[in-house]
Subunit: 227 residues, 2 copies
Amino acid sequence: MNIGFVLFPELTQLDMTGPFEVLTRIPGSKGLAIAKTMDPVGADIGLRFVPHHTFRDAPKIDILVVPGGFGTDEAMNDGETIDFVRRAAAEATYVTSVCTGALVLGAAGLLKGRKATTHWAYVDLLPLFGAIPTEGRVVRDGNVFTGGGVTAGIDFALTLLAEVAGEDVAKAIQLSIEYDPKPPFDAGHPSRASGRALELVQKRFEKRLPVAREACERAWARFGGQA
Amino acid sequence: MNIGFVLFPELTQLDMTGPFEVLTRIPGSKGLAIAKTMDPVGADIGLRFVPHHTFRDAPKIDILVVPGGFGTDEAMNDGETIDFVRRAAAEATYVTSVCTGALVLGAAGLLKGRKATTHWAYVDLLPLFGAIPTEGRVVRDGNVFTGGGVTAGIDFALTLLAEVAGEDVAKAIQLSIEYDPKPPFDAGHPSRASGRALELVQKRFEKRLPVAREACERAWARFGGQA
């Protein structure tokens, strides 16, 4: 079973590395980092990854995973990336995203009429692609699984894992990665974030969201009608 | 502030990428992947990382993070790796590990008489290095922070983040990575794992643990007396 992760510059690496750690522990599976070229791909925090395949030479993918990050602005407006996502999705058993990777699936026309989620700050952009924003850290609609922001990728991967390999294997992998989370604060969702922390994040997203919205609209105008 | 992550072949990448995502979001910080050479380093699941520095040319590190993985067997018996860990630790404000990275700190003589933790399956190896195994997903003893297995790296990083940058920044970063975990199963710790899943994991560790123990004893015999 090939589990293909789409890499692009300025991705949020934990969107990818969380599910990569979980899903590639499925016996018999292989995790593949797939990018436009074989050049190392830099994440938004500077960590660099060496791809296993390019979009052109990637084998058939069984589980397609699209991570998010600020780099989705470019990725969803890039013809080669969208072409690959569409081609891979057409053959895949599962089509999935973590965080704002959902916007790339959206631009590729893969969320039309589908229930989906994304990072909490970007949920309002989903309807631009005809998707139906849906509550939940992991949302499933048919063979399309979408996860919430960044760390939701681990919960998403365990949920998908249980479906693909059974609950016992999923629980064994959860135990082997000691996934027994104990966040030091109860601040991981805007509904429970405190004043100052929420302010800091909102300030950041005030500038970010109009840029992301414009990128989504541009991508939809270019690719949305063709899907 | 330089946050240095020690890379070695066959590391468990999520031990590193979890804290990398969290800690490098501290305003003004820089995450550095540091390895023996500039060649890409392959994780145990096949993902490959490009280092920023070698052990020889790394700048002064403020927070040193050593991840775990099966590759710790080799890393803790490698003179250059242990030398670097000792040199970097001597200058660092915080000396830290995730998962079996604690065994590398141990081999370098940095856990003598210290409370520490590691992946639940390896806790009994800590006394080989004079460390005091201590309950907790994140354990602190002075400037040494050790985290439990794999995903504990995220909780560890948020705990350290609050100390370094304050609670408001820590909560803001927790919110921005939507760290509001909802594991689909309550199976992440051996105390609550079910029969079949626990069996699957135990079977794996039955073969693994004697190998790890031998590697620890060998490393201690070589490096432990010199620290």
